[in-house]
């Protein structure tokens, strides 16, 4: 090849030389991107009842190499300005990728303005964050990486730092066909890993699959969760399913669930600019909910009992309060849901069925650096 090139370069007229050199580099380029395509597809596994209403960007297919790289990055403190925090700091596996805090501490010691969210079944989410302001994972991940209250480091700096390691360049080459580390590839690898965080193995899933028999208390809780109250017909309910319904335990809707009369955080309105969106937040998944306290966008409730008390007795009126939470009661003409103490315990028992212990112990989601440097 080299000889051929040499002969061509010395013997042929200029224009032919030039075009042949071009062709040589183009074919190198093809070989390079071909290497990236030598990757092995990562098969995302989930139950059929989850449905496949999700879109994976065509330019970022999920591959084993990309997912592994993303997992390393997720747990790497080099992506923070002070080399002191990683994604894990606020998203810990044993807490279903939350951190147990109302507000989390960023690289510079300052606090985030909202509570960390569980990273579960993100594959199906279409509008990320509490206010749904981000339309895709690749876009979303720029925020924690660069925001001053989170990891606070420009993407260019992250790419530079990773390029100077011995660990990363070969891994980027395996995942993306070239060892050149770019901002775009960092975002893509992290997103690939995040898509694999699927929780579909709770007792609730086993119950739906017919392989788990709930206790009578759990079954009562499930009924309450799904039913809307109808005192005239003697049906008691908590109506949670209206918003948190379906197998994934969320509907991707934005509602004001009656936390405040005057909201300190205007939620979705900040993004849409529409007054009707005041204090509307995305309905979060309730999967692994027993592991993800404190609750709500500002972590105001520390226990699930407080959450149930809220929905039962403390819904606060405001002009944008969800219509699903108005004029709904277990007592004829009642002003609030009015669940009994036992009913709240039943609901809590059902919510416990959403804990997926295999999700929080899955070695494929754990810190891979510990295996690399034991």
């Amino acid at each position: 090849m080299r000889n051929l090139l040499k002969t061509v370069l010395t013997n042929k007229p200029g224009w032919l030389k030039a075009s042949l050199v071009c062709a040589f580099f183009i074919s190198c380029g093809i070989i390079q991107s071909f290497q990236g395509k030598n990757t092995e597809p990562y098969v995302l596994q989930y139950p059929a009842n989850f449905g496949s209403r999700f879109v994976i960007p065509a330019n970022n297919p999920t591959t084993k190499e990309g997912v592994y790289l993303g997992r390393l990055l997720f747990y790497d403190k080099a992506l923070s300005a002070g080399n002191n925090i990683s994604c894990e700091s606020c998203h810990q596996q044993r807490q279903a990728f939350t951190d147990g805090k109302a507000f989390s501490t960023g690289t510079d010691g300052s606090l985030t303005t909202r509570s960390s969210m569980s990273l579960t079944n993100l594959l199906w989410v279409r509008n990320f964050f509490w206010d749904g302001r981000s339309p895709g994972l690749e876009e979303q991940v720029k925020f924690p990486l660069t925001n001053e209250h989170e990891m606070g480091q420009p993407l260019s700096e992250s790419a530079k730092k990773l390029s100077q390691t011995t660990l990363y360049p070969p891994l980027f080459a395996k995942a993306f066909g070239s060892s050149l580390i770019t901002e775009d590839k960092i975002l893509k690898a992290l997103s690939q890993f995040e898509r694999t965080l699927i929780s579909a193995s709770s007792n609730y899933d086993h119950y739906l699959a017919g392989t788990f028999k709930p206790t009578t208390q759990q079954l009562r809780g499930l009924q309450l969760f799904e039913n809307g109250p109808d005192p005239k017909r003697g049906i008691r309910g908590a109506n949670c399913g209206h918003c948190h319904g379906g197998v994934k335990t969320f509907k991707e809707l934005f509602h004001n669930n009656g936390l405040d009369s005057i909201a300190a955080d205007i939620g979705r309105e900040q993004f849409t600019g529409q007054a009707a969106d005041r204090a509307r937040f995305r309905i979060p998944t309730l999967r692994n909910i027993m592991l993800t306290a404190p609750y709500m966008h500002d972590g105001r409730f520390t226990t699930i009992e407080q959450v149930l008390d809220h929905y039962s007795e403390h819904i606060v009126q405001s002009p944008t309060l969800s219509t699903f939470l108005q004029d709904i009661s277990n007592e004829a003409g009642g002003k609030n849901l009015a669940l009994t103490k036992n009913e709240k315990a039943d609901l809590a028992a059902f919510l416990g069925m959403l804990t997926d212990s295999s999700f929080i112990s899955n070695p494929a989601f754990s810190n891979p650096h510990l295996v690399l440097n034991p």
Binding site: L253, F254, Q274, A276, D277, P319, T323, Q326
Partner: protein, 169 residues
């Protein structure tokens, strides 16, 4: 003794006042967008709809009671936006649908043929009033009324956008 009573009442009146002004304010600024497979994307405010022919339906809502909903025939808005209706609704255009999205993100789907008067006698309405009054918050300013749907789940409230698209498989 007397003071707190008065101030409580004052607060109640103030809250009511703000509530009402809020609701009308929010409704006047809200817009409805029609986009996707259209020749003229539209961005409509409540006031823009008065220039269209007004239609009304008396139908039973979710509360089990009959109400008069008035507004504009959805097909007219689609025609204004240049959607392939009428004689053009044939061939591949029969694989087009409308994805209607509400303020809270709720979505429902209609096929074009379900809305076109050459296919159906039912007039699907983009309603702007109920019993002669503008909608309250959480329902308006725009709501779809589909009289022949027995279950009103597609009578979507707080409509924010209508997207015309091809079903791709």
């Amino acid at each position: 003794m007397y003071k707190p009573k008065i101030s409580k009442r004052c607060i109640a009146v103030l809250l009511l006042f703000f509530g009402v002004t809020f609701s009308s304010l929010a409704q006047n600024t809200a817009t409805l967008s029609i986009g996707g497979e259209v020749t003229t994307p539209l961005e409509l405010k409540l006031s823009d709809l008065s220039s269209f022919k007004q239609v009304s339906h008396k139908v039973k809502d979710r509360d089990g009671k009959e109400h008069v909903f008035a507004g504009v025939a959805l097909i007219e808005l689609l025609e204004k936006a240049g959607v392939t209706t009428g004689a053009k609704l044939r061939g591949e255009n029969l694989a087009k649908y409308l994805l209607i999205t509400a303020a809270d993100g709720y979505e429902v789907l209609y096929s074009l043929a379900e809305i076109d008067p050459e296919f159906t006698d039912q007039i699907i309405l983009l309603a702007t009033t109920k019993d002669g009054q503008p909608f309250g918050t959480g329902e308006g300013p725009f709501r779809i009324i589909t009289p022949n749907d027995k279950k009103p789940a597609r009578w979507i409230r707080e409509v924010r956008s209508i997207k015309v698209a091809f079903a791709k498989n």
